[in-house]
């Protein structure tokens, strides 16, 4: 399951973006208020809840049988994120999930003049009052995270994406985050395959297709807007007694979204037999890998079908 954390300045539209994102993705949104109302009452007394509302230091206090309140929150949120995808807004969630590579960390900011204007409109206060309110809110927020985690929440390296809402609408921000989320899911899918094997990454920005068959096949994939990578991995399939790789196989195409490797075999039967052996070995050694072989006959029927400008 996935996690998005959202750190936001007051009047940066961060709350609106978190809510809209939650609605768009159908993921639960958990804020500091929700933590206090729905999670912490499990272990905190009424007095302790009051203290947690008032004092950041209280999160570091031992609760009865559960370690500190912070440890309880950390554990509970990680457990929750195992079961479902969530959006976490505030309370230093970007630090809690800092080492979680499935998590996406977003920071929403806006220039002071925009935030002042928004606050004035919302609360009907003067410029000076608005500036003071924002200054105090920023200070409290920074101090809260520093007290609990010992880090500066304004440090950009805690975030994957920083959005300035001076000239971006809530919808545009939500669209940016969802686009990033989609790309990230594809990347993680590729990385997971590499983790437990000695597969060699072979990605390059500008693939050089080797023959006309590959060029035509790439065109068909493009026609269907199916994302592909050319020979992105080299799978070792034979080793000598000293463990040196003596034979490897690199399927022609990887369809990122569909987690499928495709090997084209449009040459002589002699080579096809050799290639079939390699594919068989690849499937034996890497059982999680999904490889499809397109034979000469299938390839020509594909080309024939698509050249007449018809769909399937």
């Amino acid at each position: 399951m996935s996690v998005i954390t959202i750190s936001r300045q007051m009047c940066s539209f961060g709350d609106e973006i978190a809510t809209a994102l939650s609605q768009k993705l159908g993921w639960e949104l958990i804020t500091r208020d929700a933590l206090l109302a729905d999670f912490l009452p499990e272990i905190a007394t009424r007095n302790e809840l009051h203290m947690l509302t008032e004092s950041a230091k209280f999160y570091l206090k031992e609760s009865e049988n559960n370690g500190t309140f912070l440890e309880y929150i950390d554990r509970t949120l990680h457990d929750l994120a195992q079961e479902q995808s969530v959006i976490l807004a505030g309370f230093g969630s970007q630090v809690i999930f800092a080492n979680d590579k499935d998590a996406l960390h977003i920071r929403i900011i806006a220039p002071k003049k925009n935030r002042v204007a928004r606050l004035k409109k919302q609360y009907n206060v003067s410029d000076i009052e608005a500036e003071q309110i924002l200054k105090k809110a920023d200070r409290k927020q920074t101090r809260f995270v520093f007290t609990i985690f010992g880090v500066d929440l304004t440090e950009p390296s805690y975030y994957n994406l920083l959005l300035n809402t001076a000239a971006l609408s809530v919808d545009e921000c939500v669209a940016s985050i969802t686009a990033l989320l989609k790309e990230r899911e594809l990347l993680l899918q590729m990385e997971k395959q590499t983790e437990d094997t000695n597969v060699i990454s072979n990605l390059s920005d500008m693939p050089v297709l080797k023959n006309q068959a590959e060029i035509e096949f790439a065109k068909i994939l493009d026609m269907y807007q199916i994302d592909w990578k050319y020979e992105p991995k080299i799978f070792p399939i034979e080793w000598d007694p000293e463990g040196n790789i003596t034979s490897a196989f690199s399927p022609d195409f990887y369809l990122t979204k569909f987690d499928t490797y495709i090997e084209l075999t449009t040459m002589n039967q002699k080579y096809v037999t050799e290639k079939n052996k390699k594919v068989k070995k690849l499937r034996e050694l890497y059982p999680g890998i999904n490889v499809k072989v397109v034979y000469k006959k299938d390839y020509h029927s594909l080309i024939e079908r698509f050249n007449v400008n018809k769909g399937e």
Binding site: K24, G26, I220, L221, M223, F258, D259, G311
Partner: protein, 177 residues
Amino acid sequence: MDLNYKRVAFTEEILKNRISELGAEISRDYAGKDLVLVSVLKGTLYFFADLTRAIDLPIRLDFISIGVYPNATNRTGAVRITKDLDIDISGKHVLVIEDIIRTGLTTGYLVQNLESRMPSSVKVCSLLVNPEQQLINVPIAYYGFRVPNAWLIGYGMDVNEKWRNVPYIVEVDKADL
């Protein structure tokens, strides 16, 4: 009808029984969920009509159609949606209904497109699948029958837009078309 065919591949009764089973499976799996069934026009015409009536849930129905447009820089053209959904599928479960999945390229394109609209899930139900031809690992959750490489028409499937209205599925010789 003046149709030369090799054999009847699936009779009306066989289709009806299998579709009834599929409807029951879908009703069980999606109970309590907000489900949208998407018919891929036009081949699913009769399958969609029969399947949706075999589902005992308050489902929503919508239609989508795709076509290939010529592209000046690529002689294979480009696939585009020619009739889009009317329903907003974000946060809803979507079941794409296909007549037959061969390479899976069309279905792959659709699944990719629908997933970008942030639904809760996108799965596929196809009356027929041909695993031998399948290139794309599309999420086929339900299928009626596996079929080999063959020319099949009827029950919505056509040749040059003809014979969709044959009430069963027949296998024909390419030479007879």
